[in-house]
Symmetry: C2
DNA sequence: GAGTGGTCTAGACCACCTT
DNA sequence: AGGTGGTCTAGACCACTCC
């Protein structure tokens, strides 16, 4: 059945169906994207219905839906049964994304590192800890303390304390034997699920305890990384506090700019390619310093960022 | 036309078509997901063809394709014309994603902060800087130095140096008047495009220069955040080095767990909800300390992460 | 050339939202 | 109740891949 020469018959694209123009939904898609980008529809306004678009483009509903699916994937419209397609953005949103597949990528410890567990004990939450854990002072919690070492280096490069609800007491014995991440073990054994990790990075100075653990002087600069593992319901599953001597660790991350949503991501699935990973490597390289100096005296102030 | 009672007729799901079972593709999808998860197909192996699946499930090709589309979105299979559907993963890949829409979210400076530009001058790259910039020592670069302040606080909370290729010299005059991010200005004015931001965070001690800028003592702990803005071709567009006194700034980020690809992302598009932002707030709260102590003496070492 | 997925049409019932 | 998107069927041509 030769495709009736609709309003789009002059279009062309790739492979095709009935007659000989190539796929039509990309053309429809492009037109709609352009119209949206040109501001033809206000944010919150509704796109014409599928039916209307079918008529306008002389295409079947299925074809129009394919085009609309892409608009949705690009984040331009939201669709809902009964309500139509609403404009939610004029341009495909771009984001810088730091995407992490395994916790190891977040934690950034090479596989040549390991944890020396010093102790697992029951503690009582004090006021400070209460703030961190969103727990009531006096409440009992579990604390694991450990040193993280890397092969071939005498000194540990991190002193870590992990706090867990007392409910996890049962698995204390297993921690030493655990190969995967702690949070994964908690998920597996208790059926909880980490939905979110909140990470906080700051520079602090070593107190006496941490200093002795890491064999550095008290007051030495540390990179302290706190990680809160939060369940879907907001419960804190685990709090890990890592203390890294300044010269033994550096935190790195790479943010890739990409459109949000399925558009590009799905293209990756079109056929297997190297699955781009992101977060970067590991232990600190050699420390670097650079001299800074200023001559000029221009002055101004701007709210601008980097 | 009542749907012929195929092998799936006992299934049920949601809303539906011909007869009365509800949508069928979710059921088909679930079955395939389970089979893949159970290891029925090896990685790299091919899934049965659409035709075969149609027969097996007694569904139309369109319906089977809908199911397969989701498998693809979940990252379980890759499809290609002529070659079939290949298993590329046994489980839906989960990632923790830190997604940042604007640079401000990355930089984490509230809108109540601003930059006091101290100087913009031409410098000559020394050896250390050469490493950072991937430039040859001796090469001329542009350097901007500035203090970042927040309303109501006397002391700046960051001393920043930004390095740019000498080619951007023309816009030196505009920097003071710039409201948006510097990198955005470079993009706009020079037609370059930031494709990637590499960020490195470490604890360092203040050298004399930085200390005097920030009015802190030499040797005080700093959080140093370096950001490399890299173009698609790998060119370094800008390097920003931020020095934050330890007690005046903290870097925070939230990673949300989500399946990679369209699956969940698309669900967000199903209907507008609050578009979950991620990266979190700003200036440092009150400094916190906590006592650490250990009693027990269990010992073990594991490669495991938090 | 046979097989596979990509795209298309035409018509249909249904669930959901708006009116 | 009418409109809208969600899902389904049945049949078709095409481009691409692999043998």
């Amino acid at each position: 059945m030769s495709r009736p020469a609709g309003p789009l018959s002059a279009m062309s694209a790739g492979g095709g169906a009935g007659a000989g123009d190539g796929p039509r939904y990309p053309a429809i898609m492009r037109i709609l994207v352009e119209e949206i980008g040109a501001g033809r529809y206000a944010l919150g306004e509704r796109l014409p219905t599928e039916h209307d678009l079918c008529q306008r483009f002389g295409a079947s509903r299925h074809t129009v839906r394919e085009a609309l699916r892409h608009l949705k994937d690009m984040g331009l419209i939201a669709r809902r049964q009964g309500s139509g397609s609403v404009i939610i953005a004029h341009y495909p949103e771009q984001r810088f994304v730091n995407s992490i597949t395994s916790l190891d990528e977040l934690v950034q410890y090479a596989e040549t590192t390991w944890l020396d567990v010093l102790a697992v004990d029951k503690i009582v939450v004090d006021e400070t800890l209460g703030t961190w854990l969103r727990a009531t002072p006096g409440e009992p919690w579990l604390r694991l303390s450990a040193l993280r070492r890397v092969a071939g280096v005498r000194d540990p490069f991190a002193y870590t304390e992990v706090f867990m609800p007392i409910a996890f007491e049962a698995l204390v014995g297993e921690i030493g034997a655990e190969v995967s991440a702690l949070y994964a073990m908690l998920e597996r054994r208790f059926g909880v699920r980490v939905a979110k990790i909140h990470q906080s990075i700051e520079a602090v100075t070593a107190d006496a305890n941490v200093a002795s653990r890491l064999d550095i002087v008290s007051g030495a600069p540390l990179l302290r990384i706190k990680r809160c593992y939060v369940a879907e319901d907001g419960t804190l599953i685990e709090l890990a506090v890592n203390h890294h001597p300044a010269d033994r660790f550096r935190y790195e991350m790479t943010l890739d700019r990409k459109p949000v949503g399925g558009a590009l991501v799905n293209d990756i699935r079109d056929w297997p390619g190297p699955n781009e990973a992101s977060a970067t490597a590991d232990r600190r390289g050699s420390p670097v310093h650079h001299a800074t100096e200023t001559n000029d005296d221009r002055d101004g102030h701007t709210p601008c960022a980097d």
